[in-house]
Symmetry: C2
Subunit: 121 residues, 2 copies
DNA sequence: CAGAATCCTCTCTGATACTG
DNA sequence: CAGTATCAGAGAGGATTCTG
């Protein structure tokens, strides 16, 4: 376990992949790539995400320097999240994956059906 | 939940992302991209993966049509896994992500340290 | 409005044992 | 060799409640 962990942490790809793996991170990054948004605005936009996960995902993204948080001390606090330059480059890099997904989803689904039908017969 | 699920399943990107999210799937795909391998061979190569996860990940990848399984009915059964054409295109698409990871890992780590040091002060 | 803290459930994963 | 089946622990994630 420890040995293995050393390997993992030494692997930059895993770190990035783990972030990508986050169910919401990519979604949020994509949203913020279009423009800055506030907390509850994102909450409504994503709709389905719990407040906990939202705040957690945002925190991770901010920690990684992919998005930035700006709090304005108005009466009810106003917080605005926006994508960073670094975040934009990642978002751009993820795009090919989206394209791959869209153009190959058919093949994948077909493969799944074939498999589920008992392909190994 | 149901509403949201409908959205998710309708989103090809999520399906692909979920597969990428699999801690081992990408690793295995990358390994098999180099050439066919047998079960216990992969087990040793990855080392750290449990037999359960290996078999599970391989099954998912096969189901998605990303790798293929060929069993030869020798005395002790011989099973060989190899990447498919579809799998190769995905593997190729994931590469940019690896490159991004390698070339930006410094920035991410720096951002993390900055954040952990109490950036919001 | 933008969260933090708590509780509780449900899935994922590892360890172990057994089979063709 | 190449798995499957079962059990138990850790952790992710949701719902709810409370605060600056």
């Amino acid at each position: 376990m420890t040995t293995w962990n050393a390997y993992v942490s030494a692997c930059p790809t895993r770190l990035v992949l783990d972030r990508i793996a986050d169910k919401w991170a990519v979604l949020l990054l994509g949203l913020l790539a279009k423009g800055p948004m506030r907390f509850n605005q994102l909450r409504r936009e994503v709709e389905g995400i719990s407040q906990k996960m939202l705040s957690q995902s945002l925190k991770s993204l901010e920690r990684d320097g992919l998005i930035s948080r700006k709090a304005t001390p108005t009466v009810p606090v106003t917080v605005e999240y926006s994508i960073t330059l670094l975040g934009e480059t990642l978002s751009a890099t993820v795009d090919p994956l989206r394209l791959w997904a869209e153009s190959h989803i058919e093949q994948v689904l077909t493969a799944q059906q074939h498999y589920d039908a008992g392909a190994s017969t």
